[in-house]
């Protein structure tokens, strides 16, 4: 643990030092191609002071966190039950899978034109785009979780005369939950990585909007600030999810061993 932190810390510090050296001291990388630490700091000062792309950094962060959370929740609330159902019932799987297989490879971005046509420029369209990205991992992992559920546990429950509702709540759901949580992590990550695309849909504020604007402006410092903000937000939300996971899966030896 401590060794890991040390090497990790040293790596980060080295990377920062190399960045500074390459952009600011030796000018090996021209500031037009990649921002120097000073450029980045200036961009940060601008977005926290005067604002950029219609808002201060905090406005953008709050807006994006809200959007991501909402899209993520919608995806989870639809994806997990569908995955559980497909995992449990071969009939449901046979019925749904072909459609799922055909729609799945279509990238969330490709839905943008239709999302605008269908839902306009409001949050609904953005959430639809995020949903397309976050939905798939939720379904697949819930499905796999059920399929990998120890068959003897299912039989044990049946032998104990467990009624369906109790079975779903006390066997199926907890049994699949390690996989479901893996799916949630992937869904969350997908939500964040789709944010930039979602905010192509006429966003007024948001980190995706910042990145889009900075891209239009060819403003490398601001692009980097946007990227760092996205990373930190994604990281924090994943950490929160990890805590929820550890609580929910306290019975699971594997999760405990991981830390």
């Amino acid at each position: 643990m401590s060794r890991k932190t040390m090497v990790g810390g040293a790596t980060i510090v080295t990377a920062l030092a190399l960045w500074y050296l390459a952009t600011s001291v030796t000018q090996m990388i021209s500031p037009g191609r990649f921002p120097s630490p000073a450029d980045t700091w200036d961009a940060f000062r601008q977005i926290t002071g005067a604002g950029y792309a219609n808002g201060l950094l905090l406005d953008h962060v709050l807006r994006s966190v809200m959007l991501v959370s909402f899209g993520f929740l919608v995806a989870v609330c639809t994806g997990v039950p569908l995955g559980l159902w497909m995992g449990w019932s071969r009939r449901a799987e046979a019925l749904i899978n072909p459609v799922f297989l055909i729609i799945r490879p279509i990238p969330p971005l490709a839905w943008i034109p239709l999302a605008i046509l269908w839902l306009g420029l409001g949050d609904a369209a953005k959430i639809l785009v995020i949903w397309f990205a976050a939905f798939v991992p939720s379904v697949i992992n819930a499905y796999t979780g059920v399929r990998n559920l120890d068959r003897t546990l299912v039989e044990a429950a049946r032998m104990l005369g467990t009624p369906l509702l109790t079975f779903v709540r006390e066997v199926l759901l907890p049994g699949a939950s390690p996989m479901i949580f893996t799916g949630l992590r992937l869904s969350l990550q997908a939500s964040w990585t789709t944010l930039v695309a979602a905010e192509l849909v006429g966003a007024m504020t948001g980190l995706g909007r910042v990145l889009n604007a900075a891209q239009q402006d060819l403003y490398p410092g601001m692009i980097l600030v946007g990227m760092i903000a996205v990373t930190l937000c994604g990281w924090l939300m994943t950490a929160a999810l990890g805590m929820a996971e550890r609580r929910a899966l306290s019975w699971n030896i594997a999760t405990q061993a991981r830390d």
Partner: protein, 265 residues
Amino acid sequence: MGEIRFDDVGRIYGDRNGGFEALKGVNLAIADKEFMAVVGPSGCGKTTCLRFVAGFDRPTSGTVSVDGVRVASPGPDRAVVFQQFALMPWKTVRENIELGLRNKRLPRPERAERIERILALMNLTAYADAFPHQLSGGMQQRVSIARAYVLDPEVLLMDEPFGALDAQTRVVMQEELVRLARRNPRTVMFITHAVEEAVYLADRVAIMARQPGRVKEIVDIRTIREAERWDDHEKIEDVMDLESFVHLRTQIWRSLREEKAMEIA
């Protein structure tokens, strides 16, 4: 109240024409409160037979019935003890044992009382709130047996319940099971690979053969056990040193070895 009958039972896997005949013409009757051990080479269909009684699977021909009623689905009157314990890892020992009672809609105080009693009987009281992964294999198997016993089932089905335990733990469990079975007799179908275990525990031992799977021979143990008063000995190794025991064991061994020899030839 707990009589199991196999009448000309067959099971074909795969499609009905070109399939693999796992069982053919199995006839077996386990009397009420009888402890029947089933031994036989790997793949002879022991587990398949047990799953019929449990209601997890159905024969493709013949009938399996309990108390004259054809088995249709699993239920708490036929409790199963699995080799890999099959405890819910997300439930504590108490919650695992409680699930079957809750399904029976027993009132809470009665549930609590029955759980306390079985925990005490199985030496588990101190571990009531532990999770399965915090217990040794032997203790997990004890929980699994407690979960079955607490339902007070007519029939107990055990598929190599001690197969995953180490040899020392195994004998302890065997001795405990003997005590439990003698004090509180139930109809038991007990699958094992270990001939000594079968002889030590059972009233009768059914020997199965392969290709197709069938019951080849049934050896009566009870008569000799009672005649030679095995149950007066407390420890398994004392019983195992008895000549009557060694004799029965070797008889069953030879019968199984024949099978093995035929197979290798």
